[in-house]
Amino acid sequence: MSRSLTFRIFRYDPQLPGDAPKMVDYQLDETPGMTVFIALNRLRAEQDPSLQFDFVCRAGICGSCAMVINGLPTLACRTLTAKYSDAVITLMPLPGFELIGDLSVNTGKFMRELAERLKLWLHPKAQQADIHHLEQPMEPEEAAKLYELERCVECGVCVSACATAQMRDTFVGAVGMMKIARFELDSRDARTADDFYHVIGTQDGVFGCMTLLGCQDNCPKDLPHMQQIAYLRRKMAGTLIASSKV
């Protein structure tokens, strides 16, 4: 026999004049293999067409469907309803991002601004920017390390799981540091260690991190935040203190 699930969902449309944030309960019969993503689609199709939430891939790849499910920020499409034995599932939008409406937040805008601020794209070395040159081959070990960090889907979970990021608007957050670590490892990137230090060797970067580890504990891609941030911290502290730059 299937259970009846209660979904307690945050509802608020900032575009709607006079609307106020509230929690609304919905009932739904559980089906085998149901994810929160499937449940939300059924709720929207069968009960309330105005319900707003994001998804694209429904397979944990695009990072659009992140929300806070029973107190833990994670991807809705990878969360099975069967996990919750008491049949009550509370859904909140990710905190720390611009609210579009209900469970939908603008992580895209945040990620874009972060990328512009930290220059999170490959800055090729001069000869590699020339398409008449054959690209340098990359060692498989290096490629594997890059791939490990490249798995980030920019879901925003690590930002909303981090109390430091919630308290300080200018803090770059785990996703920013992970991406810097990724380009620092990349032998094709022309930037020097100094350039990277300039971007995150500050109170807004690695020295602002308080090691609360919400990032590490909630990242749906299990990226090694704790190790990477400790590594950046050691490396930057050593180099910066030894340098004569003020």
């Binding site: 920020p73 601004e113 799981a161 109390a163 308290m167 200018t170 500050t202 609360l212 911290r233 502290a237």
Partner: protein
């Protein structure tokens, strides 16, 4: 959010010195490490009262440098000097750790919202580390200034301080605050610099140490209270 700091085509962050950000972080951790390790030793030394007055008398004499004086009693000048040094370490620590403090109301709200919305153990532990750190802002100077102005340590003199001068009031607050703060701090320190990444084990160790040090500290405080209540004024120093 971040857009606030956008000016024209460029980004404007706070004017920050990179080198000083690094130095402050190292000073905070270094001072925290000194204080945390000192606490572990300190609580055991003062708890030697549980082994009897004579044991505490000997520990105090040795730590006051009794080996180097002809009388074997040591000098309370050493206690004073060391207390001044610890006060300096605490000042460095407080000044650097203050960077982490939610200084504005908006930040407190963000922290509160976060703790209500997101279920995360290490953030809750940090919250208590921060609150106890704030309490110690007031409690630690009280303790250290006393040791600088009245440095006499001994089974009767210390007990008289606890009982007759009502210092148990300070200690009953300082003990839980410092123990919780320091053990969680050392746990975080290990993870922060990557000394050790066995997180579950480290956290369990921190919790066990908190329990153990609280019991140890409370027992010895009770011992001082019992000794102190049995003393008649004016208090005469203990002679073995």
């Amino acid at each position: 959010m971040l857009t606030k700091y956008r000016i024209g085509e460029g980004w404007l962050g706070y004017p920050q010195s990179h080198r000083w950000s690094a130095i402050a972080d190292v000073l905070q951790s270094g001072s925290g490490l000194i204080l945390g390790l000192f606490l572990l030793a300190h609580l055991h030394f003062e708890s030697s009262i549980l082994l009897g007055k004579a044991a505490f008398y000997r520990v105090a004499n040795v730590l006051e440098g009794g080996w180097f004086t002809s009388s074997g009693h040591g000098s309370s000048l050493l206690t004073q000097t060391f207390s001044v040094f610890m006060l300096l370490v605490v000042m460095v620590h407080a000044a650097t750790a203050l960077r982490r403090f939610p200084a504005q109301r908006r930040q407190w709200q963000a922290l509160r919202n976060h703790n209500l919305l997101i279920n995360h153990q290490d953030t809750r532990l940090w919250f208590w580390q921060m609150v106890t750190g704030f309490l110690m802002f007031f409690l630690v100077p009280m303790h250290l200034v006393t040791m600088i102005t009245n440095p006499e340590i001994g089974p009767h003199l210390s007990a008289a301080r606890v009982w007759h001068d009502n210092y148990w009031l300070v200690y009953i607050l300082l003990l839980p605050a410092v123990v919780i703060h320091a053990m969680l701090g050392l746990y975080r320190l290990a993870l922060k610099w990557g000394v050790n990444f066995h997180r579950d084990g480290l956290r369990l160790l921190a919790k066990i140490l908190i329990g153990y040090l609280l019991v140890l500290g409370l027992c010895s405080l009770t011992a001082y209270l019992l000794i102190g209540s049995g003393l008649t004024t004016p208090v005469t120093p203990f002679i073995p």
